[in-house]
Symmetry: C2
Subunit: 148 residues, 2 copies
Amino acid sequence: MIISQTLEYALRAVVFIANGQERSYTTAQIAKTTKVPQAYLSKVLQSLVRGNIIQSQRGFGGGFILAKNANEIKILDIVAAVDPMERIHTCPLELATHGTNLCSLHKRLDDAIATMQTTFSGTSITQIVSQENAILPMFECPKLEDVS
Amino acid sequence: MIISQTLEYALRAVVFIANGQERSYTTAQIAKTTKVPQAYLSKVLQSLVRGNIIQSQRGFGGGFILAKNANEIKILDIVAAVDPMERIHTCPLELATHGTNLCSLHKRLDDAIATMQTTFSGTSITQIVSQENAILPMFECPKLEDVS
C-alpha cells in the first residue's frame, strides 16, 4: 500500500484546514468533515504539529491552523511528518561487500522511492485546494461555503 | 513507507529462488540467505504460493520453486501477491457527488499509485537476477556459486 491510512488521513486534515484559510478548527470539526475517527485523527494531528505542518492555538476559539503558507507545504512534507519515505542508502541485509553499492534489487526499489519523492515534492497544498473547476476535496459539490 | 517489510521480504525470497535456477529451496534455506525470520518468511511464502508466483514441491528434496519463468514475473505481480497496490476508483469518503469523479487530492494520489504500478510492472525478476556486472542480490561479492 503506497498511501497508508495514516497518510490519507493526514492529507485530508491538512487540506481541510488549508481550505479554511485563516480560521482554526478543533479536532472534532476536522474529524467530522474528513470522516476520520477522532482518536486516530488526534494522533495524526500531533504528528503534523511535530512536523511543523500545523500548529495548535490554545484557548477559546482555539484549534489547528497551518504552521506556514499552503504553498510552502508539499505532499512530501506531510509524508515526512506522518509516514516517512526513506531512500535505501545501504544494503538492507548489511552485506559487507555491498554496503553503499546497492544490488540490482535494492537499486530498483530505491529508484522507485526516488520517483515517488519527486512526485510528492512537486505538489503543494495550494495546488490541491485552489484548482478551479476541480471537485473540492472533502465536500459535496457544489462547494459549501460554510464548513463549520 | 512505499516498500513494506512484507514486500521487501517477498522480493528477497523470489529473487533468491529465481537465482537458483531449477533447484528448489526449503523455508529454512531461504530464510538463512535472505535474513528473514523463518515464521515471517513462512507466511510470505504462503502468499506467494497463493499468488502463483512460487509453488511448493512436496517430499524428499522438496521445497519452493518459481511457478513460472522469471521473465514472466514482474515486481508488480509480487506486490499484488503480498501487499496489493490498489488504484483509487471512487471517492474514499463516499461523497455522493464525487463518486468516480476524484477530487484534486485523490486524483493526485491515484496518479502517484499509477506511476508506481508502471514502474513495478516494467521490471521482471529476470532483469534483477541476470544483470551482468551488477552486485548480486543477497550474496557477498564475488558471486557465491554454492548457496546451500
